[in-house]
Amino acid sequence: MGGGGTLSSATADGQLSYGAEIEPRMGFFTDTSVCIGCKACEVACKEWNLVPEDGFVWTGHSLDNTGELSASTWRHVAFVERSVRQGDGIDQWLMSSDVCKHCTHAACLDVCPTGAIFRTEFGTVVIQDDVCNGCGYCIPACPFGVISRRERDQGVEHGVGAHDGGAHKCTLCYDRLQDGLEPACAKACPTDSIQFGPLDELVAKARERCEQLVEAGVDSARLYGDDPNDGVGGFGAFFLLLDDPEVYGLPPDPVVTTRDLGEIWGAAAAAAALLGGALLSAVAF
């Protein structure tokens, strides 16, 4: 397999099963320090992937009118208005384009009961639209709240666009990757805040960039999701942030739910045994 960096070697078994057809693990490095909040990524994603509208609403939260990632928002630009110098009003903007993390250990993929969610030869995590039956389990399983369901509209023909009843999220432009193209959001990003490439190369580049920023006096710069030893085994799409993750609406210490699978099934087995004992002792009366 390509690369050989720590993240690539930590790639979940799914990618390894491709044998000779395996590709280097591809991902995103989103450097929020150069994001200008233009939302070209949101628009390019919608255009390329034919993602339906996600509600024309004013949230009142700065310039953010998409609010969060969802079935119909696969890139989401967050806007944080801040006052760094006392009494000067808003004098700093944090902007960050959020996306599905394409986790090394992906809870959505693990818990999907139909096999609709799979790992591609590029190590990315994709929902197969024609298999998903809209059970909704992946939605609360994701530690980042990335996925949601496009609710079925009774008045609309079954399985159509915005009303198909299925779960949806970023595919890391699987179709474009197969043709050797970069994802639409990265292509459209005018400042290279969104960078696409082999994950190990991106991680090396990101670490260099982070050091550079700290040396230049930006003490708050930190990488989020580059550590293969974190709770999800590292992200396939990771970030350079200028504040704590929760400031951007990201969990500070995400963990894949299935890490605790032993405890989850162990408790069920013990409870089942106890119930069996209770049933037998009840009929002995």
């Binding site: 609010g67 039956n133 995400p254 408790a267 409870a271 049933l279 009840a282």
Partner: protein
């Protein structure tokens, strides 16, 4: 408790709330009810109590017919429900559960059918035995199902939720059987209901205690807190009535009904607690921050 300090993005949730509709808390109820009834039927048959066995088998069959209807109705694409059975994944409690629901439904349906028609006694015996074993899974896997999410109030209760659902299953199965069975033959049902009620009170308290004051907050306020409080009251009242007057027809019906309501409300409380836990970012951020601090 006092509000903890934490940062968030405009107070917006980090996690997504479950999109499951009221079918799911009702399924948590009917699944456990039918599962434990199959076990009670099998046990009663072994003990030679055919009157109790017959009624429990029929009730279990009815519950197992309702289960898949509730589950399929809740899907975003109900016509694709069979896609659940194209894979088997131990990493997915819902996948394992789909197979349990399908096989339990087949077994308990067959048992009820044979009982109703009075045919194929050996098929019935086999179906009763297998539905009893599968029923143990029906009554407990639902705890794993909720624990398999990232929602703090569910995932952090992964060691307790299967016990909460198992005791609730025993309580409601005993209560339902006590209602429909002549008092003289319903002794085991009453005992099961009382054991279940005691277990339910203990398991819910243990779960709330182990979650800690912050993560368990949804069990003390809002709709989930209200449902939980009423459920505890109904559990105590129903158990008292059943213990004191369960040998009389009216006592069995009153006590059993109270316990059935308590079981349903406990499941609604757990279900609604999940939404509340996902909706407020403090339940996600504060424990994760504490975890990070403890590691550094």
């Amino acid at each position: 408790m006092s509000e903890p300090e934490y940062k968030s993005y405009y107070g917006r949730p980090i996690l997504k709330e479950p999109v499951w509709k009221p079918e799911i808390p009702w399924y948590l109820f009917t699944g456990g009810l039918g599962g434990a009834l199959s076990g009670l039927a099998f046990g009663a048959r072994l003990a030679g109590n055919d009157t109790l066995a017959r009624r429990a088998v029929m009730l279990a069959g009815a519950a197992s017919a309702v289960n898949p209807v509730l589950l399929v109705k809740d899907l975003g694409r109900p016509r694709r429900f069979l896609n659940m059975l194209r894979v088997f994944k131990v990493t997915s409690p819902m996948s394992v559960g789909s197979w349990v629901v399908a096989s339990f439904g087949t077994a308990s349906g067959a048992a009820a059918g044979c009982e109703l028609l009075g045919v194929l006694p050996r098929v019935r015996a086999l179906a009763e035995a297998s539905s009893a074993v599968l029923g143990l899974g029906m009554s407990t896997y639902t705890g794993s199902l909720l624990a398999g999410t990232s929602i703090p109030v569910w995932h952090d209760a992964r060691r307790e939720l299967p016990f909460v659902f198992a005791s609730g299953a025993a309580m409601t199965a005993g209560a339902a059987a006590a209602i429909v069975t002549p008092a003289a033959e319903a002794g085991p049902a009453r005992v099961l209901a009382l054991m279940g009620a005691a277990g339910e009170l203990a398991n819910v308290s243990l779960m709330e205690h182990r979650l800690g004051p912050l993560v368990a907050e949804p069990y003390h306020e809002g709709p989930s807190g209200r449902y939980g409080k009423i459920a505890k009251g109904l559990t105590v009242a129903g158990a008292a009535v059943l213990a004191a007057a369960g040998r009389k027809r009216a006592g069995a019906v009153a006590g059993g009904t109270l316990l059935l309501a308590a079981g349903a409300l406990t499941r609604w409380s757990v279900f609604r607690a999940g939404s509340a836990s996902a909706r407020d970012p403090k339940y996600t951020v504060v424990p994760q921050r504490e975890r990070l601090q403890a590691r550094s």
